[in-house]
Symmetry: C2
Subunit: 314 residues, 2 copies
């Protein structure tokens, strides 16, 4: 993973240096300079290596996926009215909304330029790019609705987060000549990994160790953000006639009793259920990896990556 | 041209009917339903026919260019805070800014899906898509500046308007197997045609016959919009020590004496100069068409199109 990180970081650096000196391109460099784990481009490289390709041979596609990811960040931050990303002003906050719209648009075009070498890769990329847009649409729709079902929420995070991890792995695999069947397995691995990761993120925000998580826990609950925990908690509360969560949500965010909300979620079994879902998706990811027809040694990197992302001790 | 219009209209209709029933896609249909001349897709078809291809064989690429054009309209209308387009609410006015951002993004991806058949076409498309973004960036920058030089203005309209006409023709030509040299000629024809058309549009807004133009003339001047006429008028006024334009611009738009501004522009020779520029680009477009190595009869459609767009009587 460290070697892959170094490769993509160097490629990103080179790409930034080649940008024209126009206002349109400055926000792209700015956003790419924020601290980032580069998980998606690393997955492109790992997807290629899994099928006998080299990380170096898919650097363009890896960069293309990272540019696409940053394009979504730039536009999502406008839509979410987010003032900060990783502790620094978002593009629309630092410049303005128009610049963030336009620079994002151009970043999507730049991503396409890098994905254009293989027709198969291009088709995969467009398909999943649309799904990511559909996920963001669902996310925005859900903010306006009070009747979001837990299955709808899981579908939203699948589209918004998991499919791009899946896409990254499939792009790498396709570049290395993997069959459609093998691409499907590695894609499914990425999707389950993404779902496990996102659900775990929801759990950590509520029940994580503040020291390890690096922030005060319960922020999502205080904000009334519709995560797995709150949606499922409201569903079970309604079925069992419990009113605590609704009472807390009726208050202003600052007045909400977060420890009480956490207690209710534990009592309803929502915490345990979410943990079960994380493990289920994790196990499904491992099963997909197992089903791959490649030497076991080549799977080590992806096993280690899943363990690191999900911070399993095993 | 009528046959081409009918072909693309039918293709657009079919495309709209195939869209998934998701909120993300509704604004695309809405925007495509506004009255439109479909100049760009018609140019794709004419570009193909010029080199022996058929209009029917490039319908996907023609639609792709039209989707790209509509994507730029959707996002530009946000940036310009335009409430109306062709007398109907813009997408961000009818829905909201977030929907217009996201639906526009997805429309760009949809455009790419249609441009992916030929690697050459894809490369052309990405290159000119970036130029269109750069043109929009210059346009926004110019709104904040009082020292825009006339050459900068012409470069802006070249990027924002003319290059997409050029791209459309080149895409059609490339699909029909035209050589790079022939593509360059037809591209240059499109660019000069686009510049002539845009400059003529600036002229008509100020000096056109209100009956023929279909609106009160002088709207750009009243709004203080930096068109060829105003930028060049201010340049020449400064050189000759004339202050009328600055005086009028210092007033509120409603108080501006538009007839006085028109008089000054005529006296400074700006009107005559702009007319000369229209004719120069028109002539250069015709020269590029002349240089094309295809049977004369095949050029008729493009000759007629230029005459119609520029409303020449000859």
């Amino acid at each position: 993973m460290e070697r892959h990180r170094a490769l993509i970081d160097a490629r990103v650096e080179r790409w930034k240096n080649d940008l024209p000196a126009l206002g349109l391109y400055t926000p792209m460099s700015y956003l790419l300079d924020l601290p980032a784990k580069r998980v998606r481009p690393v997955l492109v490289m790992m997807g290629a290596e899994l099928f006998g390709g080299t990380a170096e041979s898919v650097l363009d596609e890896a960069l293309g996926i990272e540019l696409f990811h940053n394009f979504t960040l730039m536009h999502d931050d406008i839509m979410d009215e987010a003032p900060l990303r990783r502790g620094r002003p978002t593009v629309h906050a630092k410049w303005n909304v128009n610049t963030a719209i336009l620079s994002g648009d151009a970043m999507l075009v730049k991503a396409y330029q890098l994905m254009a070498k293989h027709p198969d890769v291009l088709a995969l990329f467009s398909r999943y790019a649309l799904e990511v847009c559909e996920g963001q649409q669902l996310d925005m729709d859900f903010e306006q609705r009070s009747d979001v079902h837990i299955d709808e929420y899981v579908e939203m995070i699948r589209l918004k987060t998991a499919v791009l991890l899946s896409c990254a792995l499939q792009v790498g695999a396709a570049c290395a000549g993997a069959s459609k069947e093998q691409q499907a397995h590695i894609g499914a691995y990425g999707e389950h990994l993404g779902l496990a990761f996102q659900l775990r993120d929801d759990l950590l925000d509520a029940f994580g160790d503040p020291v390890k998580v690096g922030k005060q826990v319960g922020g999502d609950l205080r904000a009334g953000k519709k995560t797995y925990l709150l949606i499922r908690g409201l569903e079970l509360s309604a079925a069992q006639g419990r009113t605590e969560l609704r009472e807390e949500l009726a208050k202003a965010p600052a007045d909400r009793d977060v420890p009480r909300m956490l207690r209710v979620l534990e009592e309803l079994g929502v915490k345990a259920e979410a943990e079960t879902e994380v493990h289920r998706h994790d196990a499904q990811a491992m099963a997909e990896l197992d089903a791959l027809d490649v030497p076991q040694a080549r799977k080590q990197a992806l096993l280690a990556l899943a363990a690191a992302l999900l911070q399993r001790t095993s």
